[in-house]
Symmetry: C2
Subunit: 200 residues, 2 copies
């Protein structure tokens, strides 16, 4: 077995040789949903490359926990996957919106619920190879029911599931959505006592 | 608290009202990396909508486990995120390639290692809202070292980390890559005995 450097050592070392620096940007497409650009970048060692990518405003995902310990999930058809999937409520940051406000707004719009307590659970970068989208993840408890307010054409079924039930569905390959799997990782850490949320 | 239907009940019910059906496709962009299309779709209730999305061939990710229990990770600069990040080895399916072959090839090309035992650990859909990319995840053990074979312009640092070390880095917000977080969920399930991999 060769001597493989430890992550701790490499992570602390000078990594500037990996860096890529923007040189110029070409606008490719600005649609209703997707903003595509093609950048020319400088790599170390006088090399140049192009990077095609999606510019995204970012998003928030909420893991809403009911008083009985079950969590709210949504069933939605996702056309790109040609599948109806199970996922946590989430949505895009509006222009100028503070990211915590996005979480509160999306919870209310998609589920009708408002939450009394919130805890930040980190951030997930969806598709590092071609998108700058990052989703902030939030735990929400002390839920109060109200009326939802879905966007036009936004069709979903709201339902409640036990945490272990969701873990089983992920293990069976039923839940595959990346942000939802990341959320399940945080739920697992929380429920096992390895993560103590800082409630606000 | 309103009566929220259970996921098990809704998941078994008729969900055809959520379905979206393709009507026509418009080619938007076919770059070196990104293939962007804009589809017109029929929703239930005579509504029509457009769906802009990335067509992707799919990918494979490998969680390579060393004899001492540490796992191999890569440090790479990800231009779309403008960040140098920690992630598991992964790469795109080549045209006509069987998906398991992608996992074997990417492990060898990016790390130099080949693996004696493999176990399939499910699939992650990266960005359900705008990409059809799915990444198959694999555990790989019984590693044998060899020479790597990086693509031109593919710069990365290979290193080894303890599983608990990676969990801590995720909890601290250092690891944010969605496929890597999904992989950590599977590692957690494996190490806690909740998931018994089927080795091939």
């Amino acid at each position: 077995m060769p001597d493989i450097p430890s992550l701790a050592d490499v992570w602390r070392s000078d990594l500037s040789h990996l860096q890529e620096t923007a040189v110029r940007r070409e606008e490719i497409y600005r649609g209703n949903l997707l903003h595509v650009v093609k950048d020319t970048v400088d790599l170390a060692g006088n090399m140049t490359a192009t990077r095609e990518m999606i510019l995204h405003p970012g998003a928030a995902m909420v893991i809403p926990v009911l008083p009985d310990g079950r969590v709210l999930v949504e069933i939605q058809h996702r056309y790109p996957l040609a599948e109806t999937i199970i996922e946590f409520p989430a949505g895009k940051v509006d222009a100028g919106e503070e990211r915590f406000a996005t979480a509160q707004r999306e919870l209310r719009e998609e589920t009708g619920f408002t939450a009394g307590r919130w805890a930040y659970a980190g951030r997930v970068a969806l598709a590092a190879a071609y998108s700058d989208e990052r989703i902030d993840m939030w735990l929400a408890t002390d839920l109060t029911a109200g009326a939802n307010d879905l966007d036009e054409g936004e069709l979903l079924e709201l339902c409640a599931a036990g945490v272990e039930e969701l873990m089983q569905l992920a293990q069976q390959g039923v839940i595959t959505d990346s942000k939802t799997l990341a959320g399940l990782w945080w739920l697992e850490r929380w429920q096992s006592g390895k993560w103590q949320p800082e409630w606000r």
